[in-house]
């Protein structure tokens, strides 16, 4: 599939901020099943973006700007994808899988989650069946709802609420997989919706889990599917914080208003409609 993606983040500062610094993880990489044909980042302010690869291999850009009332960052481009049944190959791996057994503040499993994981059973034997069962049960357990959670909500909190957004689903999935002894990690990216709606209010998030016989496999618990050619992978981390599209700080200023607009469409389809 050819995915045309545009991800716009707009900040308004009232009164003006005296300075802003942000670390952006908005640039996807290529691997088997994903080829980045074209990608660019535009920033409304006049600034130089400092590019690095972080320790996980994600492309990061650091932007620093002076006094401003608003800031718009647009990441957009074209990604060609193939359905690999969720199996990831050719990704930039800088750690052995077992690093991703580490727990983080956002993915610390609660006793209830440990019980939930134990009840699924079989994590020691057939990892892939366990992960599918975990994804299905988790999707049943949770209801998609953007109201009660925020970017700092932990897996345990979302599990208790039984509500959340894709990020929360991913955190709970990761925490339970790790509790079952399976390395798991957070993925931020984009998703072409099956219902034809191209405008979205945020990027997408899912998880990858390590199955010895297959390698890393993408699981999207919010949609109860393995990752497909509708998924465009941008960054990975131990949790949301390690893969967040934007982590930033502003100096001075008062109120900050954040708006995110994401558009994911099939390039061919868009072309035909014009």
């Amino acid at each position: 599939m050819r995915l045309r993606i545009s991800h716009t983040t707009t900040y308004r500062y009232e009164p003006a901020a005296t300075g802003v610094i942000q670390v952006l993880r908005l640039t996807p990489g290529s691997h088997d099943g994903q080829y980045v044909a074209d990608w660019q980042i535009d920033v409304s302010a006049d600034t130089k973006l400092d590019m690095h690869h972080d320790a996980f291999g994600n492309v990061t850009h650091v932007l620093t700007i002076g006094a401003t009332e608003d800031l718009t960052i647009t990441a957009e481009g074209l990604i060609e994808t193939n359905d690999t049944g969720g199996v990831m190959r050719g990704t930039d791996e800088r750690f052995p899988p077992q690093l991703f057994l580490r727990s983080t503040d956002l993915t610390e499993p609660s006793p209830a989650m440990a019980t939930f994981t134990r009840e699924i059973g079989g994590a020691e034997g057939d990892a892939i069946s366990f992960l599918h069962a975990l994804m299905t049960r988790l999707n049943d357990h949770m209801t998609f709802d953007s109201d009660p959670t925020h970017s700092g909500t932990t897996a345990a909190e979302a599990f208790t609420l039984r509500r959340g957004v894709c990020q929360d689903y991913a955190h709970v999935f990761i925490a339970c997989a790790r509790a079952g002894g399976i390395p798991a990690r957070f993925v931020s990216g984009h998703f072409l919706r099956a219902d034809g709606e191209v405008h979205q209010q945020a990027g997408h998030a899912w998880a990858e889990a390590y199955v010895p016989s297959l390698g890393w496999v993408g699981f999207d618990p919010a949609n109860a599917i393995c990752s497909t050619d509708a998924h465009a992978r941008v960054a990975i981390g131990l949790d949301y914080l390690g893969a967040a599209p934007v982590r930033g700080t502003r100096y001075g200023g008062g109120l900050e208003t954040l708006t995110v607009a994401v558009k994911v469409d099939q390039a061919g389809r868009q072309f035909q409609s014009q």
């Binding site: 972080d54 996980f56 800088r94 052995p96 982590r247």
Partner: protein, 472 residues
């Protein structure tokens, strides 16, 4: 437990060589004179204002760490060997850190199990593949050493993160020289005053290769509420560098600047006394108000040196400690000069069997525990406690390590009942610059003031002594 080795009065009651002059002086000095000087010392410390905030003590937010006027003395020969051992150990620590965050040869060689590193909370994945200027990770190490007899020194802990206490080493010497000029005149004692110069030289030498020939160094503190704030301001003053908090620093285009009255000034080396977790809210804890947003990006770009480097905690971790003799051999091909306290890793069946047979003699600790929680002190435990612990240990052996209870050496110390032996340890400060490792001859001697106590921590009734290395 056997009678501890006393550093002044040897096993047969004879006065040991290094203490002969002190012993003579003590016999000539009337007890009232000593009491008088002790009071003077207390006054001096109060005037200097050296204090230590005790966490969890609402009554006394800040208080004086007790200072004992009887010096602790090591001979030049003893020090020479210790110095060699310390340099060797710190070289190995730096090579270990370089390796762990790059090629991981030591894991591939099967010397340290992978999970001990990758699942260790103090291993910092963020440092993986990150070059640090001149490959120095631990610029300042505070290695805790205990002595058990005439010959044997053991390393108890390698403090490789943000070790503190060096201000006491310097202040103790200053006060002693003022109070006991007569005693100094009767000894040749290696000076410690050049510590600040050595530290500044080391810090400047590790500035990023492309920074100016006069690199700017700043000392970063968490602020006045930190228990070691006095030391931070003391050291900044001695070094002649700016004392800054996170809010005084700003990152622009991957370079770090400090706000000064004349505008922004580029900073090349940050001697940071802020823990990793709080350094940069854009990389570590997002709620940290003590750090500098973007600092890790400037670090990654190679534009600033952090001393110590981020992620050094993996080198002084309790579980990794037990592998230190292997670490020294692996990287240097040498036998370790300083001993490690023998550690039984209960994850290994042979070790577990030994530990289960000797529970009443050993101290058994949780690998990832801290603060003495979940610990068994065999010699002090009841039979029932030992049996309950035995079950716990059998259920989850990989969670525990065991060590012998060491008989720490003692040193004569002023008490209400006159001079009496009290247990001591020693923390020398090892500095690593671009090309060399240096140690000011001495360190911080901590003394457990309670009779029989082995706990030297200042938060638990420990005091300090001046440490003399005889210049022979």
């Amino acid at each position: 437990m056997a009678v501890a080795f006393d550093e002044m009065n040897g096993p047969g009651g004879e006065v040991r060589q290094a203490y002969q002059e002190l012993s003579r002086w003590l016999s000539e000095t009337p007890p009232e004179a000593l009491t008088h000087r002790r009071q003077e010392a207390e006054l001096l410390f109060r005037r200097i204002g050296i204090t230590f905030a005790v966490y969890g003590d609402a009554e006394a937010q800040e208080r004086l760490i007790p200072f004992d006027v009887i010096p602790r003395i090591l001979s030049g020969r003893e020090w020479a060997l210790m110095e060699l051992g310390l340099k060797q150990r710190v070289r190995a620590l730096n090579m270990f850190l370089r390796d762990i965050y790059h090629g991981r040869d030591i894991l591939r060689a099967g010397i340290i199990p992978d999970d001990l590193i990758f699942q260790n909370p103090v291993f910092r994945p963020e440092m993986n593949g990150q070059a640090v200027p001149h490959d120095v990770y631990v610029h300042i190490a505070g290695i805790d050493i205990v002595r058990v007899d005439d010959e044997n020194f053991y390393v108890l802990e390698d403090n490789a993160r943000t070790p503190s206490g060096v201000s006491y080493m310097l202040e103790n010497r200053e006060v002693m020289m003022r109070l006991f000029p007569d005693l100094f005149a009767r000894h040749r004692i290696a000076p410690v005053e050049r510590y600040a110069d050595e530290l500044l030289t080391a810090l400047r030498s590790v500035a990023p290769a492309h920074s100016s020939s006069e690199p700017t160094v700043a000392l970063m503190t968490p602020g006045v509420y930190n228990s070691a704030y006095y030391e931070h301001s003391f050291l900044a003053d001695k070094l002649g560098v700016e004392l800054v908090e996170g809010r005084d620093l700003v990152v622009k285009n991957d370079e770090v600047f400090m706000r000064t009255t004349e505008g922004l000034k580029r900073v090349d080396v940050i001697y940071r006394r802020v823990d990793d977790d709080f350094l940069d809210p854009l990389t570590f804890r997002p709620d940290s108000a003590l750090g500098v947003p973007g600092l890790m990006s400037a670090y990654r770009a190679g534009n600033v040196t952090l001393a110590n480097a981020v992620g050094t905690g993996i080198a002084d971790d309790k579980a990794v400690y037990s592998y230190m003799p292997d670490i020294v051999k692996f990287y240097l091909g040498e036998e370790p000069i300083l001993k490690n306290v023998p550690t039984w890793r209960c994850r290994e069946p042979g070790d577990l069997a030994y530990v289960l047979d000797h529970l009443s003699e050993l101290v058994v600790k949780e690998v990832h525990g801290s603060g003495g929680y979940g610990m068994l002190i065999g010699p002090a435990a009841t039979k029932a406690t030992i049996e309950a612990f035995r079950d716990k240990l059998k259920r989850e052996p990989e969670g525990f390590i065991a060590k012998p209870t060491l008989a720490l050496s003692t040193c004569p110390t002023c008490t209400d009942a006159g001079l009496a032996p009290r247990h001591v340890d020693l923390r020398p400060f090892v500095l690593t610059g671009r090309d060399r490792v240096t140690i000011v001859p001495g360190g911080l001697t901590r003394v457990a003031l309670k009779e029989g106590s082995l706990v030297v921590n200042s938060s638990q009734g420990g005091g300090t002594k001046d440490t003399w290395i005889l210049d022979e």
